[in-house]
């Protein structure tokens, strides 16, 4: 028997469903996200260098130098890295985004927080102000579009933005940053600190817009979900990332439903997704797709960050002890550690810096994680469809009609997928297409960082500790995460071993060559 979901889960909130869909946050998240994407794309295309021929010739020349170096047995990895780095720089210069300097977040710092606002080009403060003005203008338009009051929003937004800036400043301290304690955690803590001490002032309330920030940020994220990178590591990569990951997600969710009987399906889904796919970004995407409660997202993010910090340090030691080698070790790390940055850091710990093995381990780990990152679009879409067709039922328990499914469907997911398709197409248009995508996403990822940070500050401002601790009763979320991760570790290692030693042993050997 399937555990009974609570009424709040099964009964769809009809409030707002009868309103015009054109005035919904979902649709306005698409308008706002796409307005930004198209503006940046147009600016980048219009600023296209008149003559790229010298750059293309330089790339060809660098290719020749790399080939020559490959034939030289005494060539060092550092020599390869320098040429590859140079080629990446020249490739990036094929497209220029003139608006890039107007958006920034804070820089990392060690002992003086003011270092966070300094950079060689001096654009940090301009960029932070640019981000403030851009998000303020976008969401003022968004609130007007959804029929809400805009009055009071600018003042409230200034307050929430400053809290988000403070959270980013905390996250960019080097020790915090290098232990992968991401801004989502600090944004949440900053919000909680206000709401659980002096209380969230009423004047801040108009800018506490968790879902709106998240949905718009996810539409922007679509531009970074480039599906043509799916085959970056060939068939082994697809098996490790796109077979093991969904299997672990589904089995963990079923374990949570039927064995642990977690009362909230959405909490179960968000934890299963963030543990199996790619941590915080997967948690944000699935939470929005299954309309999870804010506290559930907070809990899932907290669990993921805590385990990521531990796994990032422990896994390299285990891999060294098992003598798995750079390909198997890197792939295992990429398939199991939640956060992308932590995957790269753990991969870098496997071998001595500057060796061929170290480069291979980092390359394999990051590529497996990148392929998992791309899965985020498919997971968000599948969860949204599953939720509106199977989980949300009417009060009478009947299956909803197709029209009803469409009305309930979180439409921002379509904006997210459309952005993914458009930018994947642009990237497939050769070197210049790839550079155009990089130039545009250099700005969208900054804006997305601000939006997600604002969302987590908003969650903190709306939550109190008692509500949060209610979800931890019985420790079931923790048990779910630990059991799911254990399954993930076992299945990933089995698949990695099968792919790189039995089915495609040549692929593993080739990755060891420069």
């Amino acid at each position: 028997m399937e555990p009974q979901a609570s009424p709040s889960e099964t009964e769809v909130e009809y409030e707002g469903l009868n309103a015009s869909p054109w005035r919904s946050e979902d649709v306005w998240a698409i308008w706002l996200g796409w307005a930004v994407l198209l503006l940046l794309l147009a600016a980048t295309i219009l600023s296209h260098p008149q003559d790229n021929a010298p750059r293309l010739a330089a790339i060809e020349q660098l290719d020749g130098q790399i080939d020559l170096l490959r034939q030289n047995p005494s060539a060092t990895p550092k020599q390869f890295e320098e040429l590859i780095k140079r080629k990446a720089e020249v490739t990036a210069s094929l497209a220029v985004n003139p608006l890039k300097r107007f958006l920034s977040d804070v820089r990392d710092w060690e002992s003086n927080p003011l270092d966070a606002f300094r950079s060689k080009d001096g654009y940090v403060l301009v960029g932070i102000m640019g981000a403030f003005v851009t998000v303020l203008a976008l969401f003022s338009a968004g609130l007007a579009g959804t029929g809400e009051r805009v009055r009071g929003f600018p003042r409230a937004f200034l307050g929430v933005f400053l809290l988000a800036l403070f959270a980013l400043l905390l996250a960019e301290q080097k020790v915090v940053k290098h232990y992968n304690l991401e801004y989502a955690l600090w944004a949440l803590i900053v919000g909680l600190m206000i709401s659980n001490t002096v209380g969230t002032p009423a004047w801040l309330r108009p800018a506490v817009r968790t879902e709106f920030y998240i949905k718009t940020g996810l539409v922007l994220l679509g531009a970074e979900v480039l599906i043509n990178r799916l085959l970056a590591l060939g068939i082994p990569g697809v098996f490790i990332s796109w077979v093991v990951t969904p299997t672990v997600l589904i089995l963990t969710y079923l374990f949570g439903q039927y064995v642990l009987r977690i009362p909230s399906r959405s909490l179960n889904m968000v934890i299963s997704a963030d543990m199996s796919v790619c941590g915080v970004s997967a948690a944000i995407a699935t939470a929005a797709a299954c309309k999870a409660k804010k506290e559930e997202l907070s809990l899932a993010v907290g669990l993921s960050l805590a385990f990521t910090a531990v796994m990032m340090v422990v896994m390299p030691g285990v891999i060294k002890a098992l003598d798995l080698g750079p390909v198997l070790g890197g792939a295992w790390i990429g398939g199991t550690i939640d956060s992308t940055g932590a995957v790269a850091a753990a991969g870098g710990m496997l071998y001595e810096q500057g060796t061929r093995e170290a480069e291979t381990a980092v390359t394999v780990a990051v590529t497996i994680k990148m392929i998992q990152n791309i899965l985020i679009g498919a997971v968000a879409f599948a969860v949204a469809v599953y939720w509106v067709t199977r989980v949300e039922r009417s009060a009478s328990g009947e299956r909803p009609s197709l029209m009803e499914v469409w009305r309930r469907f979180p439409k921002f997911v379509l904006g997210f997928l459309a952005a993914s398709l458009l930018f994947s197409y642009i990237e497939s248009q050769g070197l210049e297409g790839r550079s155009t995508v990089s130039a545009v996403t250099a700005s969208t990822k900054l804006l997305r960082t601000w939006l997600f940070c604002l969302a987590f500050v908003s969650i903190g401002l709306e939550t109190n500790f008692r509500e949060l601790s209610r979800f931890l009763v019985g420790g079931k979320p923790l048990v779910l995460y630990v059991c799911g991760q254990a399954l993930n570790l076992a299945l990933s290692l089995t698949m990695v071993w099968l792919m790189f030693t039995k089915v495609f042993p040549d692929a593993g050997l080739q990755l060891l060559n420069p």
Partner: protein, 86 residues
Amino acid sequence: MPAYNCSTHSEPGRLAPGARLLACVAVMAATWLWALPQLAETPSVRQMIDRNEELGIDPSAKFYSELPLMPRVMERLGRHSERSEE
């Protein structure tokens, strides 16, 4: 201005809301301005930070596109796939 939700009222034996916020800020300031900079100077942490910076690794990246080393990784992968086709 009224405050929203949460336990903002004073209870006997507890600090006043404003004092609690100040206490939190003081703990944060001590941690970020004194403890963490000290920790950054310990050999193992210093080594980890230096290694990540040298390799172009941002451990706080949430998505592959946020990693500074990604263009180099893609370049390496491009060469591998070219070689596989040969």
